[in-house]
Amino acid sequence: MSILVVAEHDNAAIKGATLNTIAAAQKIGGDVAVLVAGQGCAAAGQAAAKVPGVSKVLVADNAAYAHQLAENISLLVAELGKDYQHVLAPATTNGKNFMPRVAALLDVAQISEITDVVSGDTFKRPIYAGNVIATVQSTDPIKVITVRATGFDPVPAEGGNAAVESVGSVQDAGISSFVKEELAKSDRPELTAARIVISGGRGMQNGDNFKLLYAVADKLGAAVGASRAAVDAGYAPNDMQVGQTGKIVAPELYVAVGISGAIQHLAGMKDSKVIVAINKDADAPIFQVADYGLVADLFEAVPEFEKLV
């Protein structure tokens, strides 16, 4: 079998979720090729070539692919994907954007956000906000799949030496163009890649109080997240949201502060290795999934926690 993995990258380097996706490809088994499509993305192509177990890297370097416009990328991936049995991409907002388009162009189904590989055509994926796990089997000749990064341990980033080929094909649909991007700038690690995540909920009472969490995060090298309730209340921006409709995280340590533990939120963090809950309501559902629960007023507990860690 041969598998094409579409890398998530920023032209300079490949993003972590690509390594989890390659791990999923290796679990399917077969020859793994990686596509790096972008503009000025040679460095990302070189980085992909260093991943052990990758047999070749295809680099499509053109202005048409500069901002990962789904209309253009999907045409390229569908064209290249015809020669493979599986086409995989990380289930990031980018992967979710262009991959269904690829599947439709190839007239095959997409299997979204797999969390496990049972065999070459059978996969597990969560449905109903993670309340149900479905085992599904594809009957299509090409399996187009997005991979939930937290389901697979990443492969190492270094140690391989794959051949790099350049792809000449230029696919420009000419129907969409990039205007601007406003990305949150932060010195803290990315939420989905952080080893420790500390998140605040409605119990934080306002956005200003999130500075208590930032103080802990800076001491532990952690990322800061928020529940949907906190985001909806305007305490934190949307890109900090952890949950079914936000980011899915599975860090070594997840600290939930003032979060009641709605299903929606649990779906985004319950695969974390160790969960800590700090909440003054002893009956909050978050305590049912927490390894360590502390029933306390967060405004006293969090500053003390910061001092002691």
Partner: protein
């Protein structure tokens, strides 16, 4: 400009579903059904565009069994002008739904199609993108702001790490994210009026589409349960456990 909005009938978001004990599917007996929350946002956005004078007509479409009429009526009560039901009892997957919607797009020729980014049952997040591919239209997925500018659409999208703004050529496909708007409640007079609005029915055969599923569900099961841990009494005890027992800090 005519806007086509697709809505899906799903289990109400307040219902906690469970797999059947034999693992063949999800137990949907007597559960409350509702319009998918992201689809409701799509209807609201179309209604706002009509209120601004950008849209002239809103057609709401659903694909599924007779029960979907209920969700189409809900959308009509929120301000859509007429409904189309593509009626079938077949198991529907995103690719088939996208093909059926393409058939409706060809009949209706809308200037803009708005869908929810995903349904809260299958969590697939595919249909809008697939419809865009099949029609050859541009797509603005996970939209948090939509501005029509002549024959172009400026759409702001929620992406990992922030926001991205694109310009799309119309006609185009938009899928909604949570923060695009806050849907209104239907008033009683509007619910009554909605009952008189036209609702046409088509079949997959009328649109020349074979909706056969491509993916078989072999089994459904509950997720692995997480065991509740222990309660600690003090912050000091918590830090001690994290350092010496869990060894994560």
């Amino acid at each position: 400009m005519k806007i086509l909005v697709a809505v899906k009938r799903v289990v109400d978001y307040n219902v906690k579903v469970r797999p059947k004990s034999d693992g063949t599917g999800v137990d949907l007996n007597n559960v409350k059904m509702a319009i998918n929350p992201f689809c409701e946002i799509a209807v609201e956005e179309a209604v706002r565009l009509k209120e601004k004078g950008v849209a002239t007509e809103i057609v709401v479409v659903s694909v599924g069994d007779k029960g979907c009429q209920e969700q189409i009526r809900t959308a009509l009560a929120l301000g859509a002008d007429r409904g189309v039901l593509v009626e079938t009892d077949a198991e529907l997957q995103p690719l088939a739904i996208a093909k059926l919607l393409k058939g409706v797009v060809e009949k209706e020729q809308p200037g803009l199609v708005i869908l929810g980014k995903q349904s809260i049952d299958g969590d697939n997040n595919q249909t809008g993108q697939m419809l865009a591919a099949l029609t050859g239209y541009a797509q603005g997925t996970f939209a948090s702001e939509v501005v029509v500018d002549g024959d172009k659409l400026n759409v702001t999208r929620e992406v990992d790490g922030g926001l991205q703004t694109l310009t799309l050529k119309l006609p185009a496909i938009v899928t909604t994210d949570l923060r695009l708007n806050e849907p209104r409640y239907a008033s009683l007079p509007n619910i009554m009026k909605a009952k008189k609005k036209p609702l046409d029915t088509l079949t997959p055969a009328d649109l020349g589409v074979d909706p056969a599923p491509r993916v078989k569900t072999l089994k459904v099961e509950p997720p692995a349960e997480r065991q509740a841990g222990i309660k600690v009494k003090t912050v000091a005890e918590l830090v001690e456990k994290l350092k010496n027992e869990a060894k994560v800090i």
